[in-house]
């Protein structure tokens, strides 16, 4: 089984189990301030680093290219409270324009 299949099936299994365990765990166990705080902060760190790595790196190198134009337009769209589908289309279109210049 290749890496893509392993990633697909194992992450699906773990993410389902995480959801299911929520329904089987005594509330007191996870209802601690430290857990709640980690739960709100960890996604911020992960999502932000994913933005940076996906927009600004190729393999092991930091690269500035057309994707940054797309990201910049996405940020403006979000700032102007555009909905998600519109934001994605604007990001893709502006990145494509810069790429095809």
């Amino acid at each position: 089984m290749n890496q893509l299949w392993i990633a697909t099936l194992v992450s699906s299994l773990i993410c389902f189990l995480l959801k299911y365990l929520g329904y089987r765990t005594p509330e007191s166990l996870l209802n601690r301030p430290v857990i709640q705080r980690a739960n709100s902060l960890i996604p911020i760190a992960l999502l932000s680093s994913l933005v940076a790595v996906q927009a600004l790196t190729i393999k092991e190198q930091v690269v500035i290219d057309h994707r940054l134009a797309g990201l910049f337009v996405a940020a403006i769209a979000l700032r102007l409270k555009a909905n998600f589908p519109l934001m994605m289309i604007l990001a893709a279109a502006s990145s494509a324009v810069v790429y095809n210049l």
Partner: protein, 246 residues
Amino acid sequence: MRDLIHSLALGGDFLRQNGRVSEEPASFNKRTVLSDSLAVAIPVGTYGAAFGAASIAAGFSILQTCLLSLLLFSGASQFAVVGVMASGGSALSAIATGSLLGFRNGLYGLKMAPLLELKGFRRVIGAQLTIDESTGVAISQEARGDDAARFGFWATGIGVYFFWNLFTLLGALGAGAIGDPAAWGLDAVVPAAFLGLLWPRLVDNITLALAISAALLALLLVPILPAGVPIIATALLAVIFGSRTK
């Protein structure tokens, strides 16, 4: 989306304190709750097309792409799995990042359990549908009573599941039909998707500072650590931030 996360934060406390929603009216207007649910489910569902396209561009097959939406069914985790694999990471890094992002769904389940009171097979289905949107709509309906909250949970969960999977397939088929993903801007779709998921979470200076330092740390680590690991490393940064902001 910002309202949704805001209501998650507030409603979570409300549900924790009360166990369940009080002041139950005899009935609620199903049509109102349904339209609230669909107003969330349809736009979020169409976002699935971006995932489908990104997943194909990352090298996943159409079958694998659809399985991720059917079985994993949590947008941020799905984008993380395909994003890490696309940047050359190992399956282990992809699984770790996806799972860390999936942890919050477990906490939503904890909040939803006393409201939904599910057993057996219904609990399996309910758990699978426990995501940001279904939990957020359920909590936002609390003023209309337990029945409305339950109805909102199921209507939103089923609605997002249907549209997310439908659009995942359409996005995957569409991306498979075109040649160079970059020529269509598909390589910018993934970072934009993550930015869209991040944006409503940036509610104050602390979250903003964490986001910026996590991005910088990841870029700093990319040349020296195996792909995917820099992203996981930033989770530690979040823990440090968490322990310093009591």
